[in-house]
């Protein structure tokens, strides 16, 4: 790292002024390299960057690089091959549906947890986070035990698209609940009381006062749920049966391509998933700033 004067100064701003003898200012190149705060910063930054690079950045770069190693058109050809394309379409369709369903159900659950009171609420409160803590394969086993071939309720959804939907609903359940809940707790109830005193119906209050305040959080939770859903593997692979063109999702398709030694196809499909996930994350980052500006 060759620190430009401006960046060296910027780094130096974090040094507590009191730690420096007044009047004696070492030159910029010295300050950047000395064992002081700036030196610690570069060393720490170097290690953190190294770790991130070798663990995350170089591997993800390799995926994108591999997807076009036989040319971009070949990569795209792999993505649009009938089986991969069917898997991608299925994944995106179900994920959109699951995300939208979460948008509604998650908001309802958050509402009930904040505004309603009933015995056993604290247990429900704990239960909500379980899908985050539970390993995905255990989620698969759990659903299989009640909705699988040996279902005591005689509901067998194994090897159907319904199974994929249910598995995704299970693993994405907490996202909307946990983003909406804190906003709902903070929401000023005086506004609702004022609206009610002016004769607004509960429905009108919900639509005009409560919902607009919740929308950024609802969209954030939905986006996170969607990003999670398109990459899900563990819970689905057990339940869906992974039948090509019928119940094979993208993650399983990638897995099968790795197993059948087609790294270019696997990398191409992965690149598409990465791209979609990053677009969603970028949009959410924008949304956060927008929501932050609105207060």
């Amino acid at each position: 790292m060759s620190p430009l004067p401006s960046s060296a100064l910027a780094v130096d701003a974090s040094v507590p002024t009191a730690a420096r003898p007044p009047g004696v200012r070492p030159p910029a190149w010295w300050r950047a390299r000395s064992g002081g705060s700036a030196g610690g910063t570069s060393l720490g930054l170097g290690l953190v960057t190294l770790y991130l690079s070798f663990l995350v950045l170089i591997p993800l770069g390799a995926v994108i690089w591999k997807s076009q190693s036989n040319g971009w058109s070949e990569g795209w050809h792999q993505v649009t091959s009938p089986q991969a394309w069917a898997a991608l379409k299925l994944t995106l369709t179900i994920s959109v549906g699951v995300a939208l369903f979460n948008l509604v159900m998650g908001t309802v659950i958050a509402w009930v947890l904040v505004r309603d009171d009933f015995p056993g609420k604290s247990v429900v409160e704990l239960l909500i986070d379980l899908p985050f803590a539970l390993p995905t394969i255990v989620a698969g086993v759990v659903l299989l035990s009640l909705y699988g071939p040996r279902s005591p309720a005689h509901i067998n959804i194994a090897y159907t698209r319904t199974a994929i939907t249910v598995a995704l609903l299970f693993v994405t359940l907490p996202f909307v609940v946990r983003t909406v809940q804190p906003v709902l707790i903070e929401l000023d109830r005086d506004m609702e009381a004022a609206a009610a005193s002016l004769g607004a119906s509960p429905f009108l209050i919900a639509r005009r006062i409560i919902l607009p305040n919740l929308v950024p959080a609802m969209l954030t939770g939905t986006g996170l749920a969607f990003a999670r859903a398109i990459g899900e593997f563990g819970s689905i692979s057990l339940l869906s049966g992974n039948l090509p063109f019928r119940t094979e999702v993208s993650a399983v398709n990638i897995y099968n391509q790795i197993q059948s030694d087609n790294p270019v196809g696997a990398a191409a499909q992965s690149t598409v998933l990465l791209f979609i996930a990053f677009v969603v994350l970028f949009a959410l980052d924008r949304l956060k700033r927008w929501g932050g500006r609105r207060g």
Partner: protein
């Protein structure tokens, strides 16, 4: 007067009706999707008593799976704890070019499918990967052995410690650290005496989350493990392998073990989170 109170009564009736309706929908949904299936797996595992569970979890295969799971998870958590505290300190306490970029990069792993994580590691550290020939020349093995599984696990649990520690660091501010430094404490003393005690609960919260995530990782590990029974088989892979061999008892037993760990970590992390919030 009577009219007005009638309207109020109708409204409040309607309101409580909608309240019970919402409650019924929310709890019914949670019961069907979450509570009933989880209860069912416990019932299935325990329906013939604890004997079969104990036997299937103490078989040599299961014991080695537990051992491998612990080795991989603990290694990944140690790596991510060191990285996480360092990265959080940098992000909150320092100003440097590229800080916002680092902030964004830390969150990337949670947007990546576990299968893509596995593929990415194979493409770099596998036999035909970027560093494959170098690794082989030096007699190392990363993919299809423990180091690759540690990398995969560390990848997926990367943001958890950073994101638990950073907000607390930001909240406590750096006045006390600066005071310590002016009083002559060196960097390490300042961290150990001032910074660490105030982030301890948040750090423990992050470690518990990482550990829970690491013990249960399946997708990324399944790609890079090679499924060698007794060597690179973790508990999650053991569940899958047992199900393929129609050994439901063993699969349900391991699933229940992991579910209990998940529930325990949930309880502990909840307690730690409230404590770290009330302290700061």
């Amino acid at each position: 007067m009577a009219d007005a109170s009638g309207v109020v009564a109708v409204q409040s009736n309607r309101r409580s009706a909608s309240r019970y309706g919402l409650r019924f929908v929310a709890l019914g949904y949670l019961l069907v999707l979450l509570a009933a299936p989880v209860a069912m797996v416990f019932y299935r595992a325990f329906q013939h008593g604890t004997g079969p569970i104990w036997r299937s979890l103490t078989s040599s295969e299961a014991r080695s799976a537990i051992e491998v799971t612990l080795i991989v998870a603990i290694s990944a958590v140690v790596l991510n704890t060191i990285f996480g505290v360092g990265a959080a300190l940098l992000l909150v306490r320092r100003r440097f070019p590229g800080r916002h970029l680092l902030d964004v990069l830390v969150d990337i792993p949670q947007a990546v499918s576990p299968i893509v994580v596995g593929l990415a590691l194979i493409l770099v550290y596998g036999k035909f990967g970027f560093f494959g020939s170098w690794i082989e020349r030096n007699g190392l093995k990363i993919i299809f052995s423990l180091p690759g599984m540690v990398l995969a696990t560390a990848f997926v649990s990367l943001p958890l410690v950073v994101r638990s520690v950073a907000p607390v660091l930001a909240e406590i501010g750096d006045e006390q650290e600066q005071a310590a430094r002016t009083l002559g404490a060196n960097r390490w003393q300042t961290f150990r005496r001032i910074t660490f005690p105030s982030i301890r609960d948040a750090l423990a919260y992050g470690v518990v989350l990482s550990l829970a995530r690491s013990l249960g990782e399946y997708g990324a590990v399944t790609v890079v493990s090679g499924h060698v029974v007794g060597k690179t088989m973790t508990l999650t892979l053991f569940i899958d392998e047992r199900l393929q061999n129609f050994d439901q008892t063993a699969a349900y037993s391991a699933a229940v073990l992991l579910a209990i760990i998940a529930m325990g970590s949930l309880l502990i992390s909840r307690r730690l989170r409230t404590r770290s919030r009330s302290n700061s």
